[in-house]
């Protein structure tokens, strides 16, 4: 039967490299911005030039050092209590990263489980979960988290719980729809034809196909989690008052925005850059993870 033997086509030299290439600039920029955010959080005690809580009322509301009246000791100036803005920005990244990681992962865990469940069982299970999602999404999310945080009480845990409780629907909805689509594919039928049961088909065959989608969603969700944490700390129901957060910095800066606009502008800039970084990273990873090459 040698006459009908066939030779495999040449495989690409390195799949990792090819993946990185497919991710392109988005992957690099997103990864770099996200790395800066994470490093700032991890290395805050080393990077921050001052204690973020240390007050120096004699040098309050100093502008950034390059502006008129700036002081070289306070690179990005000081707030109304004379605390170093740069140090506070860096320490704020800790809260942002913790909330983004834990809240987004938990929301993903719950959302993906329910989505797979609804998408594969169909019938009344699907009806129940889908209606639940519909009802859930009818509430304004921020209002819902504020109410939740207010009920559970302030603190890091309640911020995370509020985000998870509100945002699991984002994952559930998408995963449910995509599970239904994937289950109609021939490979899913073929997997059932080799005798795999429902849970194995879902875990071993369907879930790996959802990974690119989930990575994107997870990155987007982390950005959203950062935003929600900012909102909650802006209204003062996030972490304890002595922990610096971007939200509380905006709230404080708002009162003196005409005298010292940078105090409010700088945390806003940090938020924008973090969220864009996470979105780009998610987008780049989705392209890089997709094993079917796009030309």
């Amino acid at each position: 039967m040698a006459d009908i033997a066939v030779r495999a086509m040449a495989a690409p030299p390195s799949r990792l490299l090819a993946g990185v290439r497919r991710g392109g600039a988005r992957l690099w920029v997103g990864a770099a911005l996200t790395a800066i955010l994470v490093l700032a959080a991890l290395l805050a005690p080393i990077l921050a030039p001052h204690n973020p809580l240390e007050q120096d009322l004699l040098s309050a509301q100093l502008p950034p050092m390059w502006m008129h009246g700036g002081d070289g000791a306070y690179i990005l100036g000081t707030d109304s209590l004379g605390r170093c803005v740069l140090s506070r920005l860096i320490y704020s990244a800790q809260t942002a990263v913790i909330v983004a990681l834990i809240a987004a992962s938990l929301a993903a865990l719950i959302g993906v489980s329910l989505g797979l469940f609804a998408g594969s069982f169909g019938g009344w299970v699907d009806q129940f979960i889908s209606r639940l999602i519909d009802v859930w999404m009818a509430f304004p999310p921020v209002l819902l988290s504020i109410v939740l945080a207010a009920v559970i009480g302030a603190g890091l845990t309640s911020v995370i719980v509020a985000i998870v409780v509100v945002d699991w629907t984002r994952f559930a909805r998408v995963v449910r729809a995509e599970t239904m689509v994937q289950l109609t594919r021939d490979y899913a039928a073929a997997a059932r034809a080799i005798g795999l049961n429902r849970s194995k088909v879902l875990r071993l065959e369907i879930l790996p196909n959802l990974v690119p989608l989930l990575v994107t969603l997870l990155a987007v969700e982390m950005g959203i989690a950062i935003l929600v944490e900012v909102i909650l700390s802006f209204v003062g129901i996030s972490v304890a008052g002595d922990t610096p957060t971007w939200g509380s910095m905006i709230a404080e800066g708002r009162q003196i925005v005409y005298q010292a606009p940078w105090i409010m502008a700088l945390p806003i800039g940090c938020i924008i850059v973090s969220v864009i970084g996470l979105n780009l990273l998610g987008d780049g990873l989705r392209l890089a993870l997709d094993p079917v090459q796009r030309s």
């Binding site: 033997a5 066939v6 030779r7 034809a193 080799i194 795999l196 790996p208 094993p291």
Partner: protein
């Protein structure tokens, strides 16, 4: 001798539409039976029903499907699943989409082997390489480490055939395995199925719309139209002396190398209409008849 597959008076409906109208057929052990019919005849639906893979909106109205004498419809889920992929295997229609796009070929064959044969990961991969050698794939180790999109359609179909025969099945349902392939690859795939069938002694239900394919590899054949069996018998006998007008029309519509193209006759629309109205009248009679 118990038949490998017995389908008895099977009626299947999708919503209000009836797709199988009391179809019956038997596949004897070791036999290759062709199941022929035009699109919409219900032939794939019959194969899927035997595997328990009907779409969720389809339901079995009545009838019986037995594998080696045991009723598949009355088996428990677990029992049926332990037969699937091991004793009853499927060669799917479209090799391009029937492998999981995000898993390496080796992982997919390994999954099947480990599911049914209780092998270690390493042993499963070694066995997978042997299986690929059996279907004439060179450098099997390398192919095992590739993703489905990195190999050709013909190779994917070989991988799927290797998987179908991996656990020594006694029945293989081949759902138009050659339809998506070009003619040269088709021939190789047919030879391969024939060779593996002989080696494993499996019975094959070969679903196809191509009478040429049936003539090549099927000992017996069943002609299906509008969910009804119109004719069945030994392939040579049916092709030489077709009894049903539809079979004759199908034969006249099949291109052959030894006859000029001008002699080709499309199946007369009047005949098709007649058959469909017969089928629908039967449905009506069934509905009218008190249960």
């Amino acid at each position: 001798m118990t038949a490998a597959l017995t389908v008895d008076n099977l009626r299947i409906a999708i919503g209000d539409t009836i797709v199988l109208r009391g179809a019956s057929l038997e596949v004897q052990p070791g036999e290759v039976r062709g199941l022929v019919g035009e699109s919409g005849a219900g032939k794939s639906m019959l194969g899927r029903a035997a595997l328990g893979l009907l779409p969720s909106n389809a339901s079995i109205v009545s009838g019986r499907i037995a594998f080696e004498g045991r009723d598949l419809l009355k088996m428990s889920e677990g029992e049926r699943r332990s037969e699937l992929g091991r004793r009853i295997a499927l060669i799917p229609q479209d090799p391009m989409t029937s492998l999981n796009p995000v898993k390496r070929v080796g992982a997919q064959i390994g999954r099947l082997l480990r599911h049914h044969l209780d092998l270690s990961k390493r042993a499963a991969l070694e066995r997978a390489a042997e299986l690929l050698t059996e279907v004439a794939i060179r450098e099997p180790e390398r192919v095992l480490s590739l993703y489905p999109h990195e190999i050709s359609g013909g190779m994917r179909q070989r991988v799927l055939i290797a998987m179908a025969f991996a656990c020594n099945p006694s029945l293989v349902i081949a759902d138009e395995p050659t339809t998506a392939l070009d003619v040269t690859v088709q021939r190789q795939v047919l030879q391969l199925v024939e060779r593996l069938r002989q080696r494993h002694g499996s019975a094959v239900l070969f679903i196809t719309h191509d009478l040429g394919v049936v003539a090549k590899i099927c000992r017996s054949m069943t002609v299906l139209h509008a969910g009804r069996v119109l004719e069945e018998g030994e392939t040579a006998e049916v092709l030489a002396h077709p009894r049903h007008a539809y079979t004759r029309a199908l034969l006249a519509a099949t291109p052959r190398a030894d006859r000029p193209a001008e002699t080709l006759r499309p199946v007369p629309p009047a005949l098709i209409d007649q058959l469909w109205s017969d089928a629908r009248r039967l449905d009506w009679l069934d509905v009218a008849r008190p249960a």
